[in-house]
Amino acid sequence: MTSTAHIGRQAVLDALPDHPAVKAILSWNDAALTDARFEFGELTLTVPREVIRTASETMRQAGFNFFEDMTAVDWYPATPRFQLSYHLLSHSFKERIRLRVLLGEAEAAIDSITSVWPAANFYEREVFDLFGIHFDGHPDLRRIMMPDDWKGHPLRKDYPVEGLR
């Protein structure tokens, strides 16, 4: 059903050297691509957390013009604990890529990309609310789903589904 998988940076570079997102990220900053993966017909590019804003801007200019979705995954108790997944859609290539950032628990903070796509505003607030990840430079970082005085972050894996927390 889906094309073959390419796991790892080198495998993706060998298999998809002409992919617009791969080309754009390499010509911008070769070191910014720490890992890559092509699976289920979806391309995932892992970038360090320091460069997320510039990486988003690079992707936007490379044709991935539409911010579709952003969320987090909590890999507790593994380290690094958090993974952020940004899904970007290209209206011209009719293709979607995923930017992936890994965050440790101690430094659960990242630059906001609202300056690149204002659409990220609510999504970052949601991740802040439900995962407790801080977004630097966000214009209005408040809880969005839970009440303002809520304790804890419900989508973290150490937060119980039911019962006392």
Partner: protein
């Protein structure tokens, strides 16, 4: 969600500005949306949406359920377009499993998703017109919606919370006369669209309330994550059904309506044409409906037929195993996007190789579209706000999840 009634940055209002609290209980907010609106006389200066009143933690609940148990929860997110929710989730899990879905199941999925889109658009049209004061249209659209709900009930046993699509196909073959009933419905439906159009399109009050109201440029729409009919009404030609087809949509011939009006009226026109195109898709699905099974050949994932379960030992074992232990899904992450009635929906499913999803995240169109409300209403009259909310067609269930 802000619990307190005060609005921090709006406490020091200079001059004549005042704060109007609209909702969460307000008939024109289509649910429990609260808008904190700063106004200067009748002119809107600032809007701050407060959401979360319907937050039920569905994403968290999904992590504690087997893959197949998540399907009933997806219905309840966007309760106006239930089958699209079912489909998007099933497609995501099927992608992880690498399941091949029989053609007949794919076509029935297309047929029902389009009926579901009609259902969603009918509610939009009825409530949108009612918000503006044209109460009659609401009664007309709900007459047809009732028929669609009966069609849902005939296949799924449920009018709204269908849960009809299953991982690997459909829950069962539709009843014998089902396609005839759908045919009878869509045969008369285009006339019904004309009827709505006759009531509204030439109506001077309706035109004055809609034309030139809620302007959203294409650049703003893309920057703010707006999708679906509001995006296409701003002149951006994108529809995932055509551009990134799923579930055999590439085999159907339909047009994607675009308008460059960028206003509330353009959104009205785009959706009306979309309803006509949906009818065409349903007609094509009925004409070319392939035969064959409606479930994939995957005994460890798809529940066996009742008959087999009663007569074959393996089938009984599989049935018992699936129900009690679920089925393991290979580790990995997928994002499945699709075009539902309101715009682009997406399911992001992360598996760690067990029978329960490690993480399920849903992207729902209204969540992003709500961010564009301020841009559309700034500098306009407070009365236009109601027209604009109606035109972006929000459902609070899918915003709060």
């Amino acid at each position: 969600m802000a619990t307190a009634a005060e609005t921090p940055e709006m406490t020091n209002l200079g001059g004549q500005h005042m704060v109007l609290n609209m909702g969460p209980q307000h008939p024109a907010t289509h649910g429990v949306l609260r808008l904190v609106v700063e106004i200067d006389g009748e002119i809107i200066v600032k809007i701050r949406p407060e959401i979360g009143y319907l937050h039920t933690g569905i994403e968290k609940t999904c992590e504690a359920k087997f893959y197949q148990q998540v399907i009933p929860m997806t219905d309840r997110i966007n309760y106006l377009d239930p089958l699209s929710n079912n489909l998007c989730y099933c497609l995501a899990v099927e992608k992880l499993l690498g399941l091949e879905i029989p053609e007949r199941a794919q076509w029935i999925r297309v047929l029902l998703t389009e009926l579901s889109r009609l259902n969603s658009h009918l509610i939009w049209l009825g409530t949108h017109a009612m918000d503006i004061g044209a109460l009659t249209v609401f009664l007309y659209t709900f007459r047809e919606r009732e028929e669609i709900l009966r069609l849902f009930e005939a296949v799924a046993g449920q009018r709204m919370m269908t849960s009809y699509f299953r991982i690997g196909g459909l829950s069962m073959e539709p009843p014998l006369d089902y396609f005839d009933r759908v045919q009878a419905f869509i045969k008369t439906f285009p006339e019904k669209i004309d009827e709505y159009s006759n009531l509204l399109t030439g109506n001077p009050i309706f035109i004055n309330r809609l034309k030139g109201v809620g302007i959203l440029s294409a650049e703003d729409a893309i920057a703010l994550g707006v999708t679906g009919p509001p995006l296409r009404a701003s002149g951006v030609d994108i529809d995932l059904r055509r551009d990134m087809p799923y579930s055999s949509y590439e085999k159907f011939d339909f047009k994607v309506p675009i308008s460059h009006g960028c206003d509330t009226w353009a959104r009205y026109e785009v959706r009306l044409i979309e309803m006509r195109e949906s009818v065409k898709i349903i007609q094509q699905a009925l004409d070319g409906m392939p035969g064959g099974p409606v479930k994939a050949d995957a005994p460890k994932i798809v529940l066996p037929d009742r008959e087999k379960m009663k007569t074959q030992m393996e089938a009984l074992i599989h049935h018992f195993k699936i129900v009690t232990e679920g089925f393991a899904v290979p580790a990995g992450e997928v994002y499945q996007g699709m075009e539902c009635g309101h715009g682009q929906m997406g399911y992001y499913v992360v598996s760690d190789g067990t029978a329960k999803p490690y993480r399920v995240h849903m992207r729902y169109p209204s969540f992003a579209t709500l961010q564009a409300l301020e841009v559309m209403c700034k500098g306009r009259l407070i009365a236009d706000l109601v027209a604009v909310i109606g035109s972006i067609d929000i459902v609070l269930g899918e915003i709060d999840r």
